[in-house]
């Protein structure tokens, strides 16, 4: 962000003042490292992604088939009951066309915008989906309700991560 572009109504601090050392500037990079234990549900979810499959958990009380899977049903307040494989296809519930990167820096001129989307997965309960990105599609062709399918990394490149799916692409027909 360029501070120069902001009218602050007083004498603004200019980015150049920091660069030139005209104001006290302290640099300290936080070294914050976490190693989150995923727990049995997300562990299995990721292990199955590595195999090119999507797995869900079913609650036998509300009968929801849930992804991402969870060991307890947050609505019924009881442990979930079984593992269920679901499809790697689904329907776009909602999407956005992003001209800025994750850190809100502007994408380079000529680069394609990012296309994050919530995809309701076939075989899971209504409203249950995966937040991912769309690919092999022009931004102006994306529609809510569009059928899409996962495009996977090559098996030898998968590492048990949500990025083992490269993106979802439109299904023909």
């Amino acid at each position: 962000m360029e501070l120069e572009k902001f009218e602050l109504g007083a004498t603004p601090l200019k980015e150049s003042a920091m660069k030139d050392g005209k104001v006290l500037t302290l640099h300290k990079k936080p070294n914050l490292k976490y190693a989150w234990d995923n727990g049995p549900a997300i562990d299995r979810y990721l292990a199955e992604l590595k195999k090119g499959r999507i797995i869900a958990r079913k609650c036998n009380k509300c009968r929801r088939i849930m992804i991402p899977p969870r060991m307890f049903c947050e609505l019924c307040w009881r442990p979930t009951d079984e593992w269920v494989y679901v499809e790697d296809t689904g329907v776009v519930n909602t999407f956005s066309i992003c001209y800025v990167n994750w850190d809100a820096s502007r994408i380079k001129k000529g680069d394609k915008p990012h296309l994050p989307a919530v995809i309701e997965i076939d075989g899971a309960s209504d409203g249950m989906g995966i937040l991912h990105v769309l690919g092999e599609v022009e931004p102006d062709k994306v529609k809510i309700g569009m059928k899409v399918k996962a495009v996977w990394k090559k098996p030898e490149e998968r590492e048990g991560a949500i990025t083992d799916i490269l993106y979802f692409k439109p299904m023909r027909g």
């Binding site: 302290l26 070294n31 914050l32 976490y34 190693a35 989150w36 234990d37 060991m71 307890f72 307040w77």
Partner: protein, 382 residues
């Protein structure tokens, strides 16, 4: 007549150095299931939830958002306190005292094993302009304070080490504690120097765990439990954050938090009226400093009393029978919850091998740890 607040159920996990089989979600879920089971309630019966969570420790911005599912608190009134569990407990108590809430759930969790750069996270609690550029460890704050404490003749170095010996031995009788050991004063004094006079064994080692408590109003307590534990008093206080001019000898905020809790509980002579205390001992000398701040011992007497066994499980005022932070582990935001848990078990007569006979009134005290001055105190009775 003011409404009284009861603890109608409590659930907890073991306190362990690691917990790889569970995420933070399953840890809290385990504690919550047990707490609700004890009180015979379901989430739908709960009027409000109070969670305890600190973003930098969890590694999530706005980590409060991640508290709900595992408590059954989805689409219910929830709020999160970035403090110790005892601060959250105070909020829960206030909810019930408004008489608009009958059942309130309070939660805290530590996943310390998932935090891989704890000293650097703690360093970020220091002032970025005045303190951090000096590149000194946050443990220095404990060293500075302990040095002044010793200089003022509040206790001897050996007496501080005796706290470690006692608490680690106490932990051996607590099946939930992770750091029980039989050690000597010399082990402590000869352990690696960290920020002198603080040595490695003076510092509570980190632990994981979760605690969930069900609070209820007096009018429904009998319908939820036949062994209520009452919260008679609760108080909290914080000093100035400045390292340049804080009181380096006495824990003033702990004194004020204690006085606030005593007033509410109608306690005039703490040393006579408190049967046992769970005190923050994150660094060995803090137990002595905190005991004196809470008026449980005269200034400069807690160290001698500890040597004489007054604070041992068989003594006149058992302190940290559970093992405290030194024996159970440093649980970050969950630290105060482990103390409340111990009091609940003791006051109900369910503490097993470490049961303190005739325990009727207990005190739990929390401190938010280096480099803070924030404290909270709760007084519980059977």
């Amino acid at each position: 007549m003011r409404e009284k607040v009861a603890i109608a159920g409590i659930g907890y996990t073991a306190f362990t150095s690691v917990s790889p089989g569970s995420s933070y979600r399953e840890l809290t879920y385990e504690a919550a299931v047990k707490a609700y089971e004890e009180a015979g309630i379901e989430p739908k019966d709960v009027d409000s939830f109070v969670c305890t969570s600190e973003d930098m420790l969890e590694g999530y911005s706005i980590s409060d958002e991640y508290c709900n599912d595992q408590l059954g608190a989805v689409l219910k009134p929830v709020q999160t306190i970035p403090g110790d569990f005892l601060h959250s407990l105070a909020v829960g108590v206030m909810h019930i005292l408004t008489e608009k809430f009958d059942i309130v759930v309070v939660q805290a969790l530590s996943k310390a094993s998932n935090m891989k750069t704890i000293p650097e996270m703690v360093n970020f609690a220091m002032d970025p302009v005045l303190n951090r550029p000096l590149d000194i460890t946050a443990y220095a704050v404990a060293g500075l304070e302990m040095n002044r404490f010793l200089e003022e003749g509040k206790a001897t170095r050996e007496q501080c080490a005796t706290v470690v010996v006692k608490n680690k031995a106490n932990a051996l009788a607590n099946p939930s504690a992770g750091y029980g050991a039989r050690i000597t004063v010399d082990h402590v004094l000869e352990s690696e120097p960290v920020a002198e006079p603080v040595r490695l064994l003076d510092i509570a080692p980190y632990a994981d765990g979760a605690v969930v408590v069900v609070l209820c109003a007096e009018k429904i307590a009998a319908s939820l439990t036949d062994k209520p534990v009452w919260i008679n008093g609760i108080g909290w206080s914080s000093d100035s954050p400045t390292l340049e001019s804080r009181d380096w000898t006495d824990a003033v905020a702990v004194r004020l938090a204690g006085d606030m809790a005593y007033r509410m509980a109608g306690i005039r002579c703490p040393a006579k009226e408190i049967d046992l205390a769970e005190i923050n001992d994150e660094i060995s000398f803090k137990e002595l400093q905190h005991l004196e701040a809470l008026r449980l011992f005269e200034p400069g007497q807690a160290g001698r009393a500890t040597e004489d066994g007054v604070t041992s499980p068989q003594g006149k005022l058992p302190v940290n029978v559970s093992g405290g932070g030194l024996g159970v582990g440093h649980l970050f935001e969950c630290s105060g919850a482990q103390k409340v848990l111990e009091l609940v078990l003791q006051l109900r007569g369910e503490a097993g091998a470490r049961q303190v006979l005739g325990a009727r009134v207990g005190l739990a005290q929390a401190w938010r740890g280096i480099p803070t001055t924030s404290a909270a105190v709760a007084i519980l009775s059977a």
